[in-house]
């Protein structure tokens, strides 16, 4: 099965208010889309507030951000230089070279690939996640050791690597900054709630650095959303 077979219909969802998957599940999905497919572990948060019926785009002509657009948007959102976003073996650009074709780029000079592939490839999702994870990791590690963080500021991390209180303004403000820089909008209350719940789940798993891991995975989850990857 080609990823685009289900990605393409799901593109329409990016024009809905993409604040949570359960809200989408409660709304209207395009025909043939299995709402439970690839949706991750359901959040047990009680009855779902579906809200008003969302107007959907009849055209749903969304396009995935190609390699350089993905690189540039990650760089802009995370305050990185484009050549810092993702390097394989610390040397070779993921977006410009190693995964360029899988990410919708071309290689005309040596491979004769003069135009991008018309569809995403089997390795596109893997490459996208690889790139976003690298960028998010770089931003989190830099921020948590910096006096002038870009995204992750005033989190209140204790010596044991845990957040002193996931409900502080520092946590909320960091999430807000991430949404504004990455999605050009403010997070909705439900989204903040889900992401703080993510921290609690991570801490419950017993990892050594739950606050650091949470920063990385929060960034990853937001910047690999359909809303972030398609335009």
């Amino acid at each position: 099965m080609r990823p685009d077979k289900y990605l393409a219909p799901l593109c329409a969802l990016a024009f809905l208010a993409c604040d949570s998957t359960d809200e989408l599940d409660g709304g209207t999905l395009p025909p043939g889309v299995d709402a439970s497919a690839d949706a991750g572990t359901p959040v047990d948060s009680g009855p779902i507030d579906v809200g008003p019926v969302f107007a959907e785009s009849a055209k749903a002509n969304l396009r995935i951000k190609s390699n350089l657009r993905l690189r540039n948007d990650l760089a802009q959102a995370l305050g990185l230089a484009p050549n810092e976003v993702c390097l394989e073996m610390g040397q070779y650009s993921c977006t410009d070279f190693v995964h360029a074709v899988a990410l919708g780029g071309v290689e005309p000079y040596t491979l004769g690939l003069n135009e991008p592939q018309s569809h995403t490839t089997l390795t596109t999702p893997i490459a996208v996640e690889r790139v976003v994870m690298a960028a998010c990791t770089k931003r989190a590690l830099d921020d948590l050791g910096s006096a002038q963080p870009v995204i992750w500021k005033d989190l209140g991390i204790a010596a044991d690597g845990k957040l002193a209180d996931p409900g502080t303004a520092g946590v909320t403000n960091s999430i807000t900054t991430l949404y504004q820089r990455g999605l050009l909008r403010d997070p909705k209350a439900r989204e903040i709630e889900h992401l703080t719940q993510l921290y609690r789940d991570l801490e419950a798993d017993g990892g050594a650095n739950p606050a650091r891991d949470w920063a990385i995975l929060t960034c990853f989850s937001v910047l690999t959303s359909l809303e972030a990857l398609f335009y």
Binding site: P52, V53, P108, Y109
Partner: protein
Amino acid sequence: MRIHTLGVMAAVLAWSWPADAKPTAPQAFCNQYAESPICKGGIPACTMCHLASPPTRNSFGMAIESMLLPGSPRPLTNEDFLGALPTALRGIEATDADGDGYTNLAEILAGTQPGAGESVPRPIDCSGDLGFNEDWSVCQYDVRLVFKKLHLDFCGRSPSWDEYQTFKALPSAQQPAAIHAALDRCLDSEFWIGQDGQLWQLAHRKIKPLQAIKAGDDAGTIPLADYYDDYGLFVYTQMDNHDAREVLTADYFITRRRNPTSYVKAGNNDPIGEQGVAVNRRAGLMTTRWNLVLNVMFTALPRTAAAQAYRSFLGVDIGKQEGIYSVEGEPVDYDEKGVGSEVCARCHATLDPLAYPFKNYQGLTGNIGSYDPNRIQDDFRNEGANINAMPEAGYIFGQPVADLVQWARVAADSDQFAKATVLDYWKLLLGHEVQATEQEEFEALWRDLKGPTHNYGVEKMLHALIETEAYGAP
């Protein structure tokens, strides 16, 4: 290696359409349904009646076939086929060949495919209660969407949070101007005009670079020609509202400067990559050293060069039976390749006269990449008994031309050139071919490109393109 390549090329050129495919059918279809959106954007592809490629027919093709002179022996002659086609088409208008619930006529008039069940008329209904969407105006042009989208398309990045907030805070009457100002900034960005930028990407399939034989900067192991000259010329014609037709008619070359990137006409002291064609014989990208090396190579009659130019700049692919304008008495088959046989002649009656004007341009023979009026007699005397009689005059779109410079003029002034130019950008920016509901906007764009509104300025056309519903409605 080179011999192998030539062998493949010869095989491709000698290959021809099966006897029951009709290269003239698409034009005949449009003669009958000129009002169909399919015909306003060009002529139908083979897939209108066939599966991936002829001769296998789809359901619509089979329906036509059943109505074409039933009982007459197959294959039909071209004359019989064309004579019977209008009646056959009318005879199946009320039926539904692909069983998708829409009659063939309804699909033809809507611009969808009557032989493909998944292609159905899909009017966008914006009446009634559409529901709530705080992020987008899902059924109309949305300036917020366009502001974001144009940054990604032309600048290669989303607007920053601050840029977006500033834009949203503008009075609505000022937002369109802000959109166009943003587009102007992006049209000068490295992402758009720089090396490997979007304009270079548009040029790749026209130039078909091959690093192994590149000369000049970043030279390959067998340096034969420098395609950076070609990219420079292409980009120059597409930027700053220069005349886009000069991609085919330019008699000059371009110097590219970097950091930041700019393109200027080359002066006498600017290096250009051993361009050997005299100024009065130049025809834009068709006569660069790179194009001649790559597409003329060792051939007496450079059919590949002609077909590549036809496809790249005019959007018509003879290999797909597009752009067929058979010339009476052709092909003569001066180089004795056997193209006079009936099945070959259907395409070669167009292709060979299309290629004659290239005959004096040296590829990898003689003085590489030059114009030589004695090229055939000096370098190809053994190619056929009549090879020296091959004319330089030829035909394009059924119109006689004396040489390649005139060929380029006719091509550049044609509707096909304007359509192909706009279609390149349409596909780059929208990611798909022109849909039935978009035909009207597409037609307005290419007609304005030709006319005084845009006067062949691509950037003016792009400013109009981002104002279309096709681009700006989510």
